[in-house]
Symmetry: none
Subunit: 416 residues, 2 copies
């Protein structure tokens, strides 16, 4: 069972609009255990659309097409598909009644092209559009690939796909096995190192499969297991995750597509009633802003300091001018002072500090990417660690923030 | 001259990531007068990639491929292209030196797979990657389609395309007429309103063409003029821009692809030697962090305050507890106090403040999206404005930051 996805529309071909439909459909198909090997994108042009459709039919079992079902002259997807299938277009009476009602209510004139939206290729099942006018269609071919037609606007396509299309696809292509997947999130280890550490597992992957993916500051692994039932699939995942944790568990901060290191840290602080503040130099508020992204953070984060200039480090925090003058602003001593003094000022359990060279220029003879992260903890002497980062100003700052979050994560983990 | 675009990567094929590169490239090619008829997307699989590449070569003059240049086993784009072209991979010495330097600086081990990133197909021009490791390539074929290889991460692809690829494409496929374009950036006006205000200009556009594009918090217009020489093109642009400014110039904050409202404001403050600080509640440091993104900001930004909790507003800024108790924390009075007191504490020319409801929950009976922005100016009474925003927590915070920046922009503009 092999599907492919085609998006139709000149506005997406020219890049004026980004096609999000194909990714949406692909995710849902993967979930349902239907493999996708190709996406294509073509403009509102009957000849080129026909060529793309013919190729798709020749290499896939199911072709899902989005876009071009509307009422304008540009919209010619269903006419083209009907011609290719050698069938006529027929009218969906319910959809036609809805179109007539809409025009009656809004007092606009029903032009002939609007009737087009109620048509679908004969022999298909029509798919109801609850958020728009144009019906979709699912054509199961006795000889050749099946075809599915969906509207272009995501606000119409997504509900139609979930409510109308997916149940029909599952029925048509029911699989024996059950698919379960989990995403593992890592910080502090590069993609290449992770892939090296897990090299044999990745090389020999069959079930579960293991897919690494690198983002700007973190790496994820998606494990997908296929089994006869959900519990058996979960057991396969649990076993593989145990093996992975033995090797690189130190860098594993959490699970799930919709998760971040900040969420993990903030939620753990909330759970333990531990408060946090920060004094930020090169990050200029980005650490605190990242905490602020997490709903509920106000329970453990009263606020903090942005001390960009040396005078602000002295004026707002009371960092001795002597420390900065003698040790440098990018130094262990300054980082510790900033962390501990911010913690004391707001009487929190943790105080983080960040001082370093964001670039592009060097500072105090230290190159861009030289960063001290300070950490103060109630009842303990403050500490600081030196990190050396490369990349743009934005990347250096973002990685600095993540390093601070990860330090807290590790302390909380080890305190358990 | 006909180009097509191929995106490579299993994570985009499966829909885990939406491909924005193809749209970006398509827009830029349209701009440069190069027609695009097809986009395709294929996973990290050598056989299917080869099949897609062969078809593309047979029907197009230029094939632009993004993704799969990284260091992992999955990344096989350039090996596949080299094989198809019948050439070897050769090393870019500068890129190799950069990779070695990066690993030396960060103290990580240089594994053999990382060297892959410095390779490109022999006979190509290599394209420098200023924001990452993997080099790109432009292969001009004596017989058959030309090929261009670009990295997958948009943060690497976009600068490489603009700085390295586009000039080479323009040189290779030079047209008779000269194309010049300019991007106009707007904040505070929605796309639909902008398009309505400029409706007749957009409907009748021929030369220059006018392409609106909406982003999360701003709208851009790209004007492109075609003329026999650059000066004539610039004149056409100047005339159209004068007409546009007459209608919506109030919202126009700047020009250029690589520009932001923060850059415009920070650079104007630097030019006038005016300093700024802030006291942030709902934005939690995002305003200051946004200032911190701009190189050179230290000249006019000493630092500031994140006062998330009411106690922090009192303890760090001295906002009277009475004001907060009687007027509320989300109020004009509190916003003014925060702005003026932060300004006084750091003796700056401007002090901004942000207090409001980021959501998802209401606060003090006020719905999410209710925000007061305060502004203090040396020698003037502090002011505050109420804005009402909709959307997610992240959008509300981002729009709040932009509103603060735009307020400063307007004051500086009117002081001129």
């Amino acid at each position: 069972m092999q599907a492919e996805i085609i998006a139709v529309g000149t506005e997406i071909l020219l890049g004026q609009v980004v096609d999000t439909n194909s990714a949406f459909i692909a995710r849902e198909l993967a979930e349902a255990g239907i493999e996708v090997y190709y996406h294509s994108l073509v403009g509102d042009n009957a000849d080129r659309l026909t060529a793309v459709l013919e190729r798709a039919r020749s290499r896939s079992d199911l072709v899902i097409i989005s876009g071009g079902l509307g009422p304008t002259k540009d919209d010619l997807t269903k006419q083209t598909v009907a011609q290719l299938l050698g069938v006529k277009l027929v009218e969906d009476e319910v959809a036609m009644a809805k179109i007539q009602h809409h025009f009656a209510v809004t007092g606009r004139k029903l032009t002939p092209n609007n009737r087009l939206q109620a048509l679908y290729p004969a022999g298909s099942q029509s798919l109801k559009n609850t958020t728009g006018m144009a019906v979709g269609a699912f054509y199961q071919s006795p000889n050749g690939a099946d075809m599915m037609l969906l509207p272009g606007p995501p606000s119409e396509l997504e509900p139609m796909f979930l409510k109308e299309a997916l149940p029909r696809l599952k029925q048509a292509y029911q699989r024996q096995e059950y698919l379960v997947s989990r995403v593992l999130r890592f910080f502090g280890i590069g993609e290449s190192q992770l892939v090296t550490e897990l090299g044999d597992l990745i090389a020999n992957q069959t079930n579960p499969t293991i897919a690494p993916y690198a983002k700007e500051t973190e790496v994820t692994l998606r494990l997908t297991a296929s089994a006869e039932n959900e519990a058996a699939g979960e057991r396969l995942l649990d076993d593989m995750i145990a093996t992975i944790k033995d090797r690189v568990g130190d860098y594993l901060y959490g699970y799930g597509d919709d998760n971040t290191l900040a969420q993990v840290v903030v939620n753990e602080l909330i759970a333990r009633h531990l408060t946090i503040t920060a004094a930020e130099s090169l990050t200029a508020g980005e650490f605190q802003s990242t905490l602020g992204d997490v709903p509920g953070v106000s329970a453990i984060f009263p606020g903090g300091f942005v001390t960009y200039a040396n005078e602000a480090k002295h004026a707002l925090l009371g960092v001795p001018e002597k420390t900065i003058a003698e040790q440098g602003v990018v130094s262990e001593a300054t980082a510790k002072e900033m962390a501990e003094r911010s913690r004391q000022k707001l009487d929190t359990d943790f105080g983080l500090s960040f001082t370093g060279v964001a670039g592009p220029d060097a500072l105090e003879g230290q190159p861009a990417g030289t960063v001290w992260v300070g950490l103060a903890q109630r009842g303990q002497a403050p500490r600081a660690q030196l990190i050396r980062l490369a990349g743009t100003r934005a990347k250096i700052r973002e990685r600095t923030v993540m390093t601070g979050l990860d330090w807290i994560r590790r302390i909380l983990r080890d305190k358990k």
